[in-house]
């Protein structure tokens, strides 16, 4: 018998010394946590907390500075109305960004679907519900195109949606012939298109159906992302797609479903947009992509995917809304608003980084 087979089935000699050893995997005594560290830990484990705190603080400060004109049920619900569209689009953007993607085409999809809903009703005389369904169909198709290019052709999402953004926007202008459908016509012939413009009033608070849709949408997605397998898979794919694939997530199907869902949500935004503007205007929504990314970023969601909460996006959108309205009411040059939002974006991420670094 040879050396090796003599030892077959036996650990090497030196490994026997392990018997008396410490069996646990090396752990270090962590020094006692200070208050600051505890705070950091809390903030680290609740990704929507920072934007929520900023939101509340800015509400408080502006309420003091401006008073009742700002801190009234009417104004506060107005902010909600003003962020409803960006918030809905932001929900779509959140899904995509959680998978470590980015969607520059959200605004274009939104406008195109609103144009489709309008033109199918007015140009082809389809009943409004059918036209709306067609709008959702177009939204899903656009999302499918993005998702297919990202998941099957394996192109980077930034580039895919940079391309489809231009394609979809151009298609929108070509198809609509730049024609605005007037509010009066819609009101008279297809009021369903404006449905999201209806509102519930509680005292002087005005909640449009668009606002309600935003809140419901965010809550539903929050549930789905945190309490269903699909949602966990979104996070897993964004975190490390290869790991997700190898541990049993069908990454391609996942990505495809995320982009299609994002397209559908953009169609919802398109419908809500008609409600907000009253009319169907092919030139609207030009900045929806940047604005939705801004909401996501201020909301503490990582552009690298896999981290953050959709609630954060909602708070992020509201923060921008609060600043915009408040500064307008104060009467500063609107450019100061943009400047401040720019600073806010950087500050939000710097704080986030700091928390992560120190909380370890």
């Amino acid at each position: 018998m040879t050396e090796a087979s003599a030892r077959g089935g036996q650990p090497q000699e030196f490994e026997k010394a392990l018997a008396g050893g410490d069996a646990s995997v090396a752990q270090f005594e962590s020094h006692d946590r200070t208050m600051v560290e505890r705070l950091q830990h809390f903030l680290h484990s609740s990704p929507a907390a920072v934007p929520l705190i900023v939101l509340i603080a800015s509400l408080a400060i502006f309420a003091m500075l401006i008073g009742g004109r700002f801190f009234s049920a009417f104004s506060l619900t107005l902010i909600l109305q003003q962020v409803a569209i960006v918030g809905i689009v932001g929900a779509a953007q959140t899904l995509v960004i959680l998978t470590a993607g980015i969607d520059l085409s959200v605004g274009a999809i939104m406008v195109l679907t609103s144009v489709v809903m309008g033109q199918f009703t007015f140009r082809y005389g389809l009943p409004a519900p059918v036209a709306i369904l067609c709008g959702f169909g177009v939204g899903a198709a656009c999302g499918f195109l993005n998702g297919w290019l990202v998941s099957r052709v394996k192109l980077p999402p930034f580039i895919v949606t940079l391309g489809t953004w231009q394609v979809i926007l151009a298609a929108n202008f070509l198809y609509s012939a730049n024609e605005t459908i007037r509010a009066q016509d819609i009101e008279a012939n297809a009021p369903l298109l404006q449905w999201f413009g209806n509102s519930v009033r509680l005292g002087s608070a005005v909640f449009t159906y668009g606002v309600i849709a935003l809140v419901v949408l965010v809550l539903v997605l929050w549930y789905v992302l945190n309490h269903t397998a699909w949602g966990r898979h979104v996070y897993a794919v964004g975190d490390d797609p290869e790991a997700a694939e190898l541990s049993g997530v069908n990454v391609n199907r996942m990505l495809l479903s995320v982009y299609v869902l994002a397209g559908l949500i953009c169609a919802l935004a398109g419908w809500a947009l008609i409600g907000r503007l009253g009319s169907v205007s092919p030139t609207s929504g030009q900045f929806a992509n940047i604005e939705s990314i801004t909401a996501v970023v201020i909301g503490g969601i990582s552009l690298f995917g896999g981290r953050g909460s959709i609630l954060g996006m909602l708070f992020g959108a509201l923060i921008v809304g609060v600043f915009s309205l408040a500064l307008r009411l104060i009467g500063t040059d609107p450019q100061w608003t943009y400047l401040l939002i720019g600073v806010l974006i950087i500050a939000a991420v710097a704080v986030d980084q700091w928390i992560r670094k120190v909380a370890g």
């Binding site: 490390d240 790991a243 049993g248």
Partner: protein, 261 residues
């Protein structure tokens, strides 16, 4: 000596990456209840072989059979559904997800009743309970909080989670690609014990490793891979480590495969 039918066989697997041929008509056989070690030089194609078997890559040619039935997995999930669990060389855990989430990724448990059925709600506490049970059953439970993110674990702990997951869910085959490469003496030993544990439960195991003493300690048979092919299969009781190394590197001509299978 082994007259039983193999659990898993592969014949003539080919996989090309651009100009590299990673698998070049490779064969493979795994018998019930055995630990089969796969050894070979760096780049010999070992990982490619087990990726093909576990659905992580699709071979360009060749046939794979599970319990005699031809199978063609298009994703790791399909292989898992068929009872083949794999611990990949790069672990395949999602850093930001919790230990429990990772263990149940792709096979989450839903709540009973309408919550689960209609709202598809996950049963977090059930998954955490089972995950904790799985880890402690395997003697790996020094982790306090099963809800903590995998990225906060040490390399050894992560390996433990990956192995425990495979051991717990594998119903027909467990495959491990270099599970001890980055591990210390103590941690490696733990993993080897784990492998023997899994074997005791009657599951066949494929173990890829560069560590000859480990291979010769636990393997029932040793598949030697060279230049993208199975060169031979040897019985560790009949050959020495020196023989194995000599075959692996081409210093000696190997015995015919049939001799062992």
């Amino acid at each position: 000596m082994m007259q039983r039918e193999p659990v898993l066989t592969a014949r003539g697997l080919v996989k090309r990456y651009g100009r590299v041929t990673a698998l070049d008509a490779a064969d493979f056989d795994l018998y019930p209840g055995e630990i089969l070690a796969v050894i070979g030089d760096n780049g010999a194609g070992k990982s490619s072989l087990i990726k093909a078997i576990s659905g992580a890559i699709t071979p360009d040619e060749g046939e794979i059979r599970l319990d005699g039935e031809p199978v063609a997995f298009r994703s790791p999930m399909e292989a898992r559904d068929a009872g083949i669990e794999t611990v990949y060389q790069n672990l395949a855990l999602s850093p930001a997800l919790s230990i429990a989430d990772n263990m149940f990724l792709g096979r989450e448990i839903r709540r009973a009743g309408p919550l689960g059925k209609w709202l598809r709600m996950l049963d977090r506490s059930a998954m955490e309970k089972r995950a904790r049970a799985m880890l402690s059953e395997l003697g790996l439970m020094t982790i306090q909080n099963i809800g903590q993110a995998v990225e906060t674990l040490s390399g050894g702990q992560r390996q433990g989670v990956a192995v425990a997951r495979a051991a717990a869910f594998g119903s027909r085959v467990v495959i491990m690609d270099e599970p001890t490469a980055a591990l210390g003496v103590k941690e490696s030993r733990r993993v080897l014990e784990l492998i023997l544990d899994v074997k005791k439960r009657g599951l066949p195991i494929v173990l890829i490793s560069h560590n000859m003493p480990h291979v010769f300690e636990v393997a029932d048979r040793i598949h030697i891979h060279r230049l993208g092919r199975r060169l031979t299969v040897i019985d560790p009781k009949e050959y020495t480590m020196s023989d194995a190394v000599a075959f692996m590197t081409g210093a000696k001509a190997p015995p015919a495969v049939a001799a062992v299978a």
